[in-house]
């Protein structure tokens, strides 16, 4: 049950915690222990201040403006694009499109592909792990076009069955849309294996990075997939923005399905010529504030480096799994060593809702329920799980307190 051995790389967590004002908060008279980072992370002062600074000094609509505020806002926005592109090692920052989040990004991809590559009767492969956001857009297409969704099954240890994947692909398989890290189980997809299959059969590879980008170094140049998406709010940034990375070949080939002010070169009622590059896909006034806040978040985590964060979080996962394994009533799902900062478990004969409700009484925020992965719940045959997920500000002491209270909760429920 031990996750890949890693050396403890000492983040100065005590100092880091000072950057997150909400961590000072009491919940039900206990200090907040925030283990719901998979849903959204807390925001450091640096992000909050970037937003405040933007609104008190620079706020203006971007692009096309001749006045100073507009120029400064545009520069801040485009600098944010460069900052975030560099973080993900995207060589041409025009391949980085700002959307309103992962879900929006996936919809833009699915709608675009459904107007170009996808033909009636085609097939799309997903994994049994997928978040609803990476199921529904494809399902909607499939329903309207007699398409088929095929699902990569799980093995005994809840990891993906890559051998089965090979057998799922047919000549009609156009897209493989897969999560990089399961938001429910924390298991990491072996993208190299998936890529091999995708390349061999000429499938478009769409990667849902909502849960990988917060926890590990993601090098998109090296990864070289067709599409990669994630949300800012899960990476210490504001709500309401996220990214849609597309491989260069898609920049001018993916049909525009969400047009608006900003996406165009020239418009007449008869004919519209669309812009080139990222603007093509950024319809309407973007979430300027959030994009600037997102860049501040990226600058913040890069003070420490994704490697250090990854190690710190894996250390917490190891520690928590070790401690949980000492409680006989607890079942942990997804017992494969290749794991990011997420653990799902249940208490035998107890509903996750009860466990979560009582933990909250001790100030411990965990997520319970289906985590927007109902198909996975069906496979695991549970109504839901209790999920704890970590961020760079979490500590072993918090885990100790959590374990102590979990034991108490179990005795209350039994």
């Amino acid at each position: 049950m031990l996750v890949k051995e890693v050396k403890y790389s000492p983040l100065n967590v005590e100092l880091i915690r000072k950057d997150f004002p909400i961590l000072q908060r009491l919940v039900n008279n206990y200090p907040l222990i925030y283990f719901d980072n998979g849903a959204t992370t807390q925001k450091p002062l640096q992000v909050i201040e970037a937003i405040t600074h933007y609104y008190t000094h620079t706020n203006s609509n971007i692009h096309r403006g001749v006045h100073t505020l507009s120029r400064e806002s545009t520069e801040a926005f485009e600098l944010a694009r460069k900052t975030i592109a560099a973080h993900f090692n995207i060589k041409n920052d025009q391949q980085l499109i700002f959307t309103s989040g992962t879900t929006d990004s996936i919809n833009i991809i699915a709608n675009g592909l459904s107007r170009s590559i996808l033909k009636d009767g085609d097939e799309i492969i997903l994994s049994a792990y997928e978040h609803h956001s990476n199921i529904l857009a494809w399902q909607l297409w499939a329903e309207q076009h007699n398409g088929k969704l095929k699902v990569i099954p799980l093995k005994e240890d809840h990891s993906l069955d890559y051998d089965a994947l090979k057998n799922l692909v047919t000549a009609k398989t156009k897209v493989i849309a897969i999560t990089h890290v399961s938001n429910t189980l924390g298991l990491v997809t072996d993208l190299e294996k998936v890529k091999k299959v995708a390349e061999k059969h000429n499938c478009i590879l769409v990667v849902d990075g909502a849960q990988s980008a917060p926890h590990m170094k993601v090098d998109l140049e090296k990864l070289n997939v067709d599409f990669f998406v994630c949300s800012a709010h899960k990476i210490y940034g504001p709500t309401g923005t996220g990214i849609l990375y597309m491989n260069k070949k898609w920049l001018n080939d993916l049909p525009i399905t969400k047009p608006g002010g900003g996406t165009i070169k020239t418009v007449s009622f008869e004919k519209t010529e669309y812009a080139e590059g990222a603007l093509r896909f950024e319809a309407g006034t973007p979430n300027i504030e959030a994009v600037i806040g997102f860049a501040a978040a990226i600058n913040y985590i890069n003070r420490f480096g994704m490697e250090a964060i990854h190690k710190h979080e894996l250390d917490l996962v190891n520690y928590a799994q070790y401690k949980l394994s000492g409680i006989p009533e607890v079942i942990v799902y997804g017992q494969n060593p290749d794991k990011a900062a997420v653990i799902s478990f249940n208490v035998k004969n107890a509903h996750p809702f009860d466990v979560g409700t009582l933990l909250d009484k001790y100030g411990i925020a965990v997520r319970t329920g289906h985590h927007c992965t109902q198909p996975l719940m069906s496979i695991l045959c549970v109504p839901g799980t209790v999920r704890i997920s970590f961020a760079l500000y979490n500590t072993k002491q918090e885990i100790d307190f959590f374990i102590e209270k979990l034991k108490k909760v179990i005795t209350m429920l039994m």
Binding site: F353, D354, T357, K361, T368, H370, P383, K408, M412
Partner: protein, 137 residues
């Protein structure tokens, strides 16, 4: 006993715990455990109130001029809350049920469980109880 009287009884019952929320919840859980509130075979689709996470089944019947409820839930805390609600409302005249405010929930310090944004089906259950009472009059 009237709704008000039962409510007061429950309030007194919970007052013993004072600030001891753990005791309060243990009591609630005991209430939840104490009775299978609805027969397994009655847990049909039409009786189900789907909360986001925990589910509640509600059965309503009229006998003489009164409405009788039985119910169940898959989560034990929800079930404890359900048990309290049944104790207060079951066997009461329809009109009283419809007009009830259920202020005891607030007074015994479990208000948060009736937040409409809570992931259980309790708020929907109360609405269903009142609707059923209206229908059964």
């Amino acid at each position: 006993m009237s709704i008000k009287e039962i409510e007061n009884e429950i309030i007194e019952e919970f007052e013993i715990f004072g600030e001891d929320w753990e005791g309060k919840y243990e009591h609630l859980i005991d209430l939840g455990k104490s009775l299978p509130l609805i027969k397994e075979e009655s847990k049909t689709e039409d009786k189900l109130i789907q909360g986001c996470q925990s589910r509640v089944w509600l059965n309503s019947e009229k006998k003489d001029d009164k409405i009788f409820f039985s119910a169940d839930s898959d989560a034990i805390i929800t079930k404890g809350m359900v048990a309290l609600m049944i104790r207060v409302l079951s066997g009461q005249p329809a009109k009283e049920i419809i007009d009830s405010k259920l202020e005891f929930i607030n007074k015994i310090g479990l208000k948060e469980h009736l937040s409409p944004t809570r992931a259980n089906g309790l708020v929907s259950m109360i609405n269903r109880m009142k609707m059923d009472a209206i229908k059964l009059i």
